[in-house]
Symmetry: C2
Subunit: 535 residues, 2 copies
């Protein structure tokens, strides 16, 4: 289109959207604290340390365009890598340390990482896989003591760097980060994000969160602690936002519920984010303990927030809010927002899209639900290494989430289910998520998943898989049916959704990020006659 | 630099930062109100009207890259042009209607505007200058009744457009808006802003304002009314932010203090912005009237916020906060932010830089003050038509503000003075702004300006120009000197700053945006012996 382009005088600065520019406010909060690993330092020290880190990596031979992989628990070191590595023009690979050694080796081989920085907890694993990584040139262990065979110790390396390192300008479309989706289906796929995408994610999500009602958002003055690992989609982008806004930050290391609760109290944490599994673990660890945790706002994503869990959390002073996103989307797309008049369920929906996000559902004739399609300036543009998957992701110029959603008249998005998890029975679409949510309201159900199993007449039928955790006797099939039939009578679900089969196991299989692993559940379900025989 | 560029699958959507994308949240607030001119409609209607407006302009022959100039008071029509004109790929020229007819003709001739949309109040002026604008192809009057010789009436035109107009995608570096600086020195110069710049300004300023403490910022839930005209640097960019966040908006037409106060009360306005002159007018109009105006947050820019005015405003329930910016900077660069412990003066400083803003002062040896230099992703890159001025603006790759500033250890910026307004006497730099601020504390001083006048021995000497407004007897020179000497004794100003000459006039000359016109004051000062003779 023949638009008129913005003129530029000789010498005018063409400002690129680079991660280093999120640090522009540092002079305003140099005295603010960053807490991690029994260590605490100020943003002023942080600023010096990222310059030293980049300087040292550069001296070791790390060049722009190369990949620096990190394996660590949530720490100040990880935060330093979040800024130093991309800002020197290299690519930060955040390795999912919960994958199997073979899968970790696969992800490192796929990116061709030249440098690996790892916590000493992973030293045996690294020793085991290093031989299969021909591109790997240098290994740096993060620990007080240097493990054998490593180039250097992280702390010593930081100390050796110059605090005067100047982060260069370059194309804002340079890749800043990469990691692998740990999807509930198929092989891990690499995604990557550019500097521009991460800066825009930070600004838009920052605006959305700061505009939330009190107790539902995140603003300067909050104290931040992640409870989604930093290897998982940039800890939802929050560390970048926390630095831009200048809040106190608390990095809890490896997640242990008691430690998370202790840090919450001792450091005055007011904002966190996690998947509902972690929230459940926290509430379990809390037990009957007295003393409210308020104020503590928590965004729950990575799957639906069950209403029952939201209510339990509220009793302990935790204000939970649903959010929606995925590995491919930076991740934040939408956040729930409620007013006092809204029903409790409103907190649990996927939420209202953040600024600049366009959502679309191509509703099939006669229905209000369909695949959620997205546009935003921070969506991954490709799966490097698997181009066909990238094209499928972007078919028609919209990102395909493979989530079935409904969009309310107020623009709010509710995720009905994963496309792969919808149960198609007798021509009806039955939401496994809704069935799980309703079944959890049964007093004798601790954890449940629904999957569709093949049926000669109805196509599929819902199978209830109950986990007992060995503590409570599960309901009988008849009891479960009676429980769900009441919802069918009330019109909440279709009569076809009431299962005529259930299976009881000790614990539900979960993926490395805590989601129910339905792929493995389906395998279990295929063998259920034998399992029953054994049981 | 050989960075790795972000890959893009075939079909992946390359999301441009266009103004139309600020509308992505509209489904969330379609029922929210926009109030203007005794007319009120919802965002839903707004959405339809901007599609119709763009469609109608397109049918009339307005093409991408062309310039559409607007002359209006603050109205819903102006807001519609803010979105429709740039989003169809054309350039919106916001004409300063307070300039003289000759100057207005100059600005329209310089941009070569093909289309002029104007309020009927300006019909005589347009008739007067149209003959000198050969590029002008069409004129559209905004009024119930069509003025003679006009192509169409704005309302009829909007009605004729299609609500299904689709705003196209194009390069985010396309020019979106243009207007002329009304600087206190030199000729008006054109500046322009791209879509990308305005979107980034909206996001960064939105983040900054939403993160302000309660009563010092702007969030969803506020009610917005501009009191800086929409022709003046996009009304500080706030209409774009207000639409993105979805607040109720109130457009007050031509500014009349009584009407502004009435709208504040009837519509529940909670957030505005203005120059201190307007705030003073409001307080004058309020007089001894009872009844607090709280909550009403007001960002004061376009010059310093005098502490005395801030205190007066606070007595009426208005929470004022200083801000800093200029025509070349979008405009917002910094916002004051205070905690309850801060002294009142903290509210009045230029403030803390917004996200992504880099500020720099090259401090001369031994001093803490110097010209404020800026980088941000929304600074004008050129003065179209005057390339040498553009190069000077960007000398060394930093935008030169021509403001003398001090940067505090916390990153806060205080503007000491305009470079042109600093008085250099006996080797000392004396701030005219500070002298004005201190002089205003004298009970018999209503309005004052200081300028430097040539002196054979000291280079320059400060001249106090007092405006009486015909109401109060001004202090004598001796009285003024005694008043200021007390501050010199306290160390607040240099002894050299105490003036040995003063001049009393009826009212200070002001520019079209309400700033004291020091250029004209200097001319008056040159002729002061004659003025005295007459007086």
């Amino acid at each position: 289109m023949p638009v008129k382009l913005h003129p530029s005088a000789r010498g005018a600065y063409d400002y690129p959207l680079l991660i280093k520019n999120l640090l522009s406010g540092l002079p305003q909060w140099r005295d603010q604290w960053i807490v991690s690993d029994d260590r605490r330092y100020t943003y002023g020290t942080f600023e010096t340390r990222i310059a030293r880190l980049a300087s040292a990596l550069s001296r070791l031979g790390v060049e722009p365009g190369q990949t620096v992989a990190v394996m660590d628990w949530d720490s100040h070191r990880y935060l330093e890598c979040y800024f130093a590595v991309p800002s020197m023009g290299a690519v930060l690979q955040t390795v999912n340390v919960r994958l199997s050694p073979q899968q970790i080796a696969f992800t490192l081989a796929q990116t061709g990482a030249e440098t690996l920085i790892y916590h000493q907890d992973f030293a045996p694993l690294v020793a085991q896989i290093a031989g299969s990584l021909p591109a790997l040139q240098r290994r740096i262990v993060m620990a007080p003591a240097t493990a054998e065979g490593c180039v250097d110790n992280f702390e010593a390396m930081v100390d050796s760097g110059s605090p005067d390192f100047v982060f260069p300008d370059f194309d804002e479309n340079a890749v800043a980060t990469t990691f692998h989706t740990t999807g509930t289906t198929g092989d891990p796929k690499a995604v990557s994000f550019s500097h521009r995408q991460l800066v825009l994610h930070t600004l838009a999500v920052g605006t959305a969160l700061a505009n939330q009602p009190d107790g539902q958002g995140f603003r300067r003055g909050d104290v931040y602690m992640p409870m989604t690992p930093m290897f998982h989609v940039h800890a939802w982008g929050m560390p970048y936002l926390a630095v831009m806004v200048g809040v106190k930050q608390v990095y809890p290391g490896r997640y242990e519920p008691k430690r998370l609760l202790a840090l919450k109290r001792s450091e005055g944490v007011t904002f966190s984010h996690c998947v509902s599994t972690i929230l459940r673990m926290l509430l379990d660890a809390l037990g009957e303990e007295e003393g409210g945790l308020a104020p503590w706002t928590m965004v729950i994503g990575g799957g639906p927030l069950p209403t029952s869990l939201m209510v339990q959390a509220r009793e302990k002073g935790i204000s939970t809010i649903g959010g929606y996103g995925m590995s491919e989307t930076g991740p934040v797309i939408a956040l729930a927002r409620v007013s006092p008049d809204d029903p409790p369920e409103a907190r649990c929906r996927a939420g209202l899209p953040a600024p600049l996000v366009h959502v679309r559902v191509d509703v099939p004739a006669g229905g209000g639900e369909g695949e959620l399609l997205l546009r935003a300036p921070w969506l991954t543009n490709d799966y490097p290494g698997t181009p066909a998957a990238g094209e499928a992701l972007w078919e028609g110029g919209w990102l395909h989430t493979q989530d079935i959603a409904r969009i309310a008249p107020d623009g709010g998005v509710s995720i009905v289910d994963r496309m792969k998890d919808v149960i198609k029975t007798g021509g009806e679409w039955v939401s496994a998520t809704l069935l799980e949510e309703l079944t959890l309201r049964h007093p004798a159900v601790e954890d449940v998943a629904f999957i569709g199993v093949p049926h000669p007449r109805w196509g599929e039928r819902p199978l209830a898989v109950l986990a007992t955790k060995g503590r409570i006797a599960p309901p009988s099939l008849e009891g479960l049916q009676a429980h769900l039939r009441a919802y069918a009578d009330a019109g909440a679900i279709s009569r076809y959704a009431v299962p005529d089969e259930m299976m009881v196991i000790e614990a539900l299989p979960r993926t490395s990020v805590g989601k129910v692993d339905k792929k493995n559940l389906r395998i279990l379900a295929e063998h259920r006659p034998e399992i029953r025989k054994q049981g």
